[in-house]
Symmetry: C2
Subunit: 429 residues, 2 copies
């Protein structure tokens, strides 16, 4: 259908824009990882966007009214202590000296049985890399109990790199996950699942241009795996179909008991009667989250250019707190040393206020103001400041807004506060 073709066109346009504007690095494999919601090599804008996204996630989870503590666990863990025998079940990091050893032994006069035995031992000794943060948080439950004086509920949060075996290539894929593992009394676990679902959906929609593309959906009972008794997914409706961004699961107490070898007395909390808490996990994929916000914020607008030709205007209307670059500083006609100094002063002022700024005035390629605006709109830059001779005389400069395309004249002494207030106001909504 025409709409399907439009959707595909939009995906192509988005991927091209992400390449052109340094959200992601060049390369077909890289673009494919990105599209699939996996970690790829990010350029400066993608890197900054993901940084903002992770920062917002962290603040919303750890600074909510609920008691949430951040932790940081190791990405690889020796599993030999568990006497695990299934060496084929996990991604493992193998040390070079062991690999050399295997190859040498193969060339020597060992029997096949001995080699199988040796290889198995080496693989058992090689640590498995994490596929998510759940196990780490379950292990940290007991040390954390002291922090909360054995009182429920509380949570442990972590973000970072996780790995997944992949079926279709030799490379395991990596992704940036967010994890909240929430410990609560058994009778409240279902309410907490609902609470966190509402919170998380609200968070995703807060930053969206079209909030209705984000939704939550119960996982049908027959699709539940392992010990999960109830599960909800936060879903984004991509042009190619819906994909999950964050998954919430009600997991009971079995994994917690298993991790701590059934030591009930160590796990019990003081809430009315002594209980082993139930676990609610909230696991997000922030690489796909980044893709969702990019996809959600791209607006394709038709308009006439200065030569009356119909052109497509692409604007990345990222939420002000997510936008990787808030302000670009440029020079109008005739770059002189004095104008450059004004730009540098402004840049310094913005950097000190931690407003991410693009030093467009360093660019020496001659471009028209129209080309410049197109570029900044594609980068999602909120405001473009143009310094001119007039600025030297009267202190006035031009401020163009990405969202309204309106150009305002403002005094140089007011511009920092104007932009700070704009971003803060957007954050509060």
């Amino acid at each position: 259908s025409a709409s399907w073709a439009d959707d595909l066109d939009q995906v192509r346009t988005l991927l091209q824009l992400c390449l052109d504007r340094h959200f992601i690095s060049p390369g077909d494999t890289n673009a494919e990882l990105f599209r699939r919601g996996l970690s790829c090599t990010y350029g400066p804008l993608g890197m900054e966007l993901r940084r903002n996204l992770l920062g917002q996630w962290w603040d919303s989870v750890t600074r909510s009214r609920a008691q949430v503590f951040g932790i940081d666990t190791l990405s690889n863990s020796s599993s030999s202590k568990d006497g695990e025998t299934d060496v084929g079940g996990k991604l493992r990091i193998v040390q070079p000296q062991y690999l050399k050893q295997i190859l040498q032994h193969l060339q020597q006069d060992l029997s096949k049985e001995q080699i199988v035995q040796e290889l198995t031992t080496i693989l058992q000794k090689s640590p498995a890399v994490r596929t998510n943060f759940l196990q780490g948080a379950l292990e940290q439950f007991i040390p954390s109990l002291e922090l909360v004086n054995r009182k429920l509920p509380f949570g442990l949060a972590e973000t970072g790199l996780c790995f997944q075996p992949s079926d279709d290539s030799c490379c395991p894929t990596e992704m940036t996950q967010t994890s909240l593992v929430w410990f609560c009394s058994p009778r409240t676990s279902s309410q907490w699942l609902d609470h966190w679902t509402r919170q998380r959906l609200k968070w995703w929609r807060k930053f969206a241009l079209s909030p209705s593309n984000f939704s939550s959906s119960d996982v049908p009972e027959e699709e539940l795996t392992g010990l999960v008794s109830r599960s909800v997914k936060i879903i984004y409706d991509f042009p190619w179909g819906p994909e999950p961004l964050e998954t919430l699961c009600s997991r009971g107490d079995a994994e917690l008991l298993q991790t701590h070898k059934g030591a009930r007395s160590k796990l019990q909390c003081r809430n009315g009667r002594k209980t082993v808490p139930h676990v609610v996990s909230v696991t997000g994929n922030m690489d796909r989250g980044l893709m969702a916000f990019l996809s959600n914020s791209l607006q394709l607008l038709k308009r006439e250019d200065s030569k009356r030709k119909l052109q497509q205007r692409k604007v990345l209307k990222l939420h002000p707190v997510l936008a990787p670059v808030k302000v670009a500083i440029d020079i109008g006609k005739g770059a002189t040393i004095e104008l450059r100094q004004v730009c540098e002063g402004l840049l310094q002022e913005f950097m000190e206020a931690k407003i991410s700024t693009w030093p467009g005035y360093l660019e020496t390629m001659p471009v028209t103001m129209e080309q410049l605006n197109n570029k900044y709109d594609e980068m999602g830059v909120l405001f473009t400041l143009v310094i001119s001779d007039n600025t030297l005389e009267s202190g006035l400069l031009q401020v163009r807004s990405r969202d309204t395309t309106v150009k305002e004249t403002m005094h140089i002494s007011e511009v920092k506060n104007f932009i700070s207030r704009y971003i803060t106001a957007a954050d509060k909504i």
Copy 2:
């Protein structure tokens, strides 16, 4: 000597404090990783401290006057495309299905030569995990050229997890590295090495209680490895001896040329004449950096307790911007619902201002004010607020400073601004 014994005692005290106060998780192996300056499992306070440290590093490098862009590369990369044959030289992530395959084939009727061949192929296909960020940045040099319009100098920054093979155990170690890869004209590379050394040393000392424990030291020529022509280390003088925190290297252009297969024309920049840039790398270990600041900020003070017994007071005088908890809120005698509500209001106010706050009023264990102060001093909490009945009547509360131990009375409406100003002022020094 007595001083050596004192030093060891100080290390023991520090490690115990880090365990007691949730900087690191329990376990001898974990404490040992931590002491060696490697990633370990961090508790909430260690996690927040490292977060603050990485944030400060990032701001100082990317918000300096120099042009620095952040990037984010993949942690594992397939090396098979390079036709690399040394399968024993690198840490690799091996997929479970390949391991199963090897073991199955060993049990079948293949010759040893076939198995050696197969194992070699599989290991070649398995991606190597990064040991540092240098290679990633060198690969991103060409896409970044467009950002700077082929003008030198500029830099690429990245922080995150890197892995190292370890000699003494089966587990590879992991660490949180910071990396700035700086591209400049050949004739300025030595000056830039000096520039970044000064900048980095200044940064480390800015947050130190005893800045003289941080120093820089030239690496003797005979110790230079690979293609490095000059190198400087930023060193911290731990109680057990000096250890490097950050290493700066002048690396020439050979690795950049090698990465891009000698394609000079693609690498040339426009600075006067066309040149292939030289590379200066700045690589830091932020796990060891965290250990350095903890070690540097621990003060052991003798003093008399309320019963006139001589006691050791331990205060973690972390720099205000690094301190993982800025404020603790507690209730004096008689916790009532009204007092709790005041605490919750304050907590919310502080969280919105992004001031990290410890909700001490949730603690239900009866402790004396002295025990509470000791605990918060060991946690490095800057200020403790005590809410009492008096607060309900007059709006006044008590503010105790970690560094002066002085208790001031302040109006509840002023306390947030007081603390914000205090932290901002400390940041500006």
